[in-house]
Symmetry: C2
Subunit: 586 residues, 2 copies
Amino acid sequence: MSFDIRRLLPFLDWARTYDRRHLTNDAVAAVVVTIMLVPQSLAYAMLAGLPPHIGLYASILPLVAYALFGTSRTLAVGPVAVVSLMTAAAAGSVATPGSPEFVAAALILAVESGLILTLMGLLNLGFLANFLSHSVISGFITASGVLIATSQMKHILGIKASGDTMPELVTGIAATIGGTNFITLGIGAAAIAFLFWVRKRLKPLLRRLGLPAGAADILAKAGPVFAVAASTALVAALALDQAGVKVVGAIPSGLPPLTLPVFQADLWLRLALPALLISIVGFVESVSVAQTLAAKRRQRIDANTELFGLGAANIAAGLTGGYPVTGGFTRSVVNFDAGAETPLAGVFTAAGILATILFFTPFFEKLPQAVLAATIIVAVFSLVDLGALGRTWRYSKADFAAMAVTIAVVLLEGVEIGIVSGVVVSLALFLYRTSRPHMAIVGRVPGTEHFRNVERHKVITGETVLSVRVDESLYFANARFLEDRIYDLIASRPAVKHVVLLCSAVNMIDASALESLEAMDERLKSAGVTFHLSEVKGPVMDRLKATHFLAHLSGRVFLSQAEAMAALDPACMAGQGGKAPVAVGA
Amino acid sequence: MSFDIRRLLPFLDWARTYDRRHLTNDAVAAVVVTIMLVPQSLAYAMLAGLPPHIGLYASILPLVAYALFGTSRTLAVGPVAVVSLMTAAAAGSVATPGSPEFVAAALILAVESGLILTLMGLLNLGFLANFLSHSVISGFITASGVLIATSQMKHILGIKASGDTMPELVTGIAATIGGTNFITLGIGAAAIAFLFWVRKRLKPLLRRLGLPAGAADILAKAGPVFAVAASTALVAALALDQAGVKVVGAIPSGLPPLTLPVFQADLWLRLALPALLISIVGFVESVSVAQTLAAKRRQRIDANTELFGLGAANIAAGLTGGYPVTGGFTRSVVNFDAGAETPLAGVFTAAGILATILFFTPFFEKLPQAVLAATIIVAVFSLVDLGALGRTWRYSKADFAAMAVTIAVVLLEGVEIGIVSGVVVSLALFLYRTSRPHMAIVGRVPGTEHFRNVERHKVITGETVLSVRVDESLYFANARFLEDRIYDLIASRPAVKHVVLLCSAVNMIDASALESLEAMDERLKSAGVTFHLSEVKGPVMDRLKATHFLAHLSGRVFLSQAEAMAALDPACMAGQGGKAPVAVGA
């Protein structure tokens, strides 16, 4: 996609063909999503350590901003669990939860992460998100789910406890568990049990009662709404808030405030790294949800343009009293399943939330916090995937290590250091691996011009030519390794007169490796061995041609390994039909 | 080399065959090296901000320790320029130069870096040094040379100025240049001119006078000794030290003291990173000198065992009043050229330095500091290689960037942060490069079974099979890139029924890339395209076999690309003789 006004304003794509059918579908989806989003927004704001109504503010203008600048037709933007947890940790590092400074820090985080996302979009830096491997993301989400569920236990027990890591949380709960409010615990436990039942059993039950699959699904997802309504009614009827059951309390009614985050350079600087991590994690979560949904309808999303959409949504959140937002999985799926056709569904959802905050806030005053905590606990339960540890272990020890380190550090030290550790470990293991490349002595597969590892295949080799395939680009970290291996191979094979380095897997030769190759050539020459290359790729060859290497090389550069062997050891290439003597390598 | 007592005590290798000829050669070399090493040790200690005699202490027991544990026959260990500069910066970050705490910090650095080197040896971590690319080392050495020469200007001018970076040094010199002592400047400038003349002109002159090449070379290298002797005599005769010419002063005579560095946990911790950097830089410098010399005599050095040798030398330096040491280039070459046969030459050199400190220290009392500074300036001049910038630029922009960043940060911010920046930049550029791999559509080179890029070669391709070679291992950083590219290629080629991914350059498929391949297979399948792999390497195939990927794959895995084409598009493989229609790719 070249530069194009539609890249900046992707809504032009769908606005031209918008018709009444779209309008109906979008409106229906918006009603469904609004009903689900209201309790979710209150709950996630509470998880972020913010007053519940901040969650509603974060679900209005950001949705409109995303509808204008985002490329996904069905992504539903707003507060999500993992980003709320990261906001709690980041704002908690500069202010006390509950204080006005804490709320101000959340605003700064939203604006800062909006600016970072927009800047990344301008600089085409969306690829940075690729450096978060699946294993690190999966470990991060699992560990965050455990942290989130544990952090909500205080609301279920009706106690005061805080902390950003498992040791802190567990110690905090253990120290205050004596003060458990049993009515709160009863409400919380009942809500958890009910929500799990809804999640696992309600849908099959509704299907058996004859409801169509789609409706059964949406009704099952509306479980939290029922829990909220029932528990609020119960608390109000029995005045349980007088008995120590903590409730949401009065929510200021009215339009979201216009907020301009204070500009304090040192505060912005201290929040810059957390904001960057929130941006990248939010971006990765959002893009993977959007791509999953887009693929189902053969639509495409443009990852780089998504940066503008999410950037705009976060700036909007920061300017209207919210906190960092991103595309959420559950609500996007609900939006999609409820039939949303275009981002206008998001605009209608925003209108629904706005109506809620203007007219319906009194209904939430007696909503028990324990029920919000229960909806969070049940929601994050699906994030925890400990089975991934076993699957990853079986496939790749390096991926397992990255995942395990991420989980351990997130749980023990916190979300930010945890995700950074995961990235560092996964990159370090990749670099370590490339620093000691696999190398194979190759011979010809009988009847073909194909050369493979003598240790794995029945192949034809000769005495005087040593063909070595090196399975990595040659760069500083492995240049000396290659040198040492070649010298070792030569030392144990006195009959060898030619070494052919098969470069089919060499995608780059950097300056350090070039010096190594020159040194090898010199040293092999003085030992009476000629050094050749074969199957050097175009881009690598272009580079080599700009140096003196090819002029000094004792041997030649062959287009293919077969050509090299035809020139250096014709006997090895004889017997195309596989009748030549076959030497099976040791 | 498996585990073996000779690995721990490599001197057993040469001690058995030691004879009188070896003894004579080693003794002669030791005399030559001792004469050169005395002024050099005084000078480098001064560069490190330490009293000059510390340099002599660092040239006694460390040499004996290296002789016992090192593997190079001719490496001469002791104070060197770059490590002295790093010591000055590191000790200067915790204490004031000239203070007893500064000397104590240097001792800690020596012991700590000795322990780090030994630990790296035990853990086989010698490969870590490979992560310093040629470009970073070259940039680091050049910038260090400039910093060192500039830092010595204060001694030539006879002023007080200090600093660890160019801006600090230049500001310091500018602020105090009014206090220049012109006699000092005269001596310093004359010494510099003389030493440059010796370096460039003396050897050819001596050859013309009929001296053999070897003797002329050694005499030319003894220039500093002559400068030291002549300037000391001059200062003593004219009592110039009374006229403000700073001299070395009284050197405590006697055996090196036994020192046990104070153990203060926080001080050791603060010096740990500098000690690690000193260890790695010293190790890299030492190993490259040792390997160069070993190659000339067809000897081998074992890089991992070298860690024990250098570790022992540094621990010895720390226990006998010295500071960090490593193998030096100039002195090792002199040792080698003077005919040293075994590390016993180092032991004899240590005895020579010991004799100097016991009996000859009064001779150095009137030695002007400006002359020591002149020997340093002339010595480091050969380290500065600005031409490398141009050569590297022409070969590789990534290598150039790493080198330029290293030089700039060393000069502007200091040696430690400079080398770390260089490593980070070079690794980041490597990772960036692997995150967007080169990909090529390939076709058959007529008359062969070899497949190459359609854009570079005249090759045969078909309409229904798209063969794509991806030139990189598949891992998290490029998994999505590959996915997007394949989708784009398919979207513009509606006739394609098969995609063959030619994996000759794929050395690894990690868990993230495996998920991408599964997603691609699913998506291609639903678009009516079959997905195949060819030339998958043994180690990669072993991994894939442990998963469900191969069972679900819509297509097949072919041993070679030729086999794939023979099965999927026989027309493309027809005409072995090159008579088939040739389609030249766009």
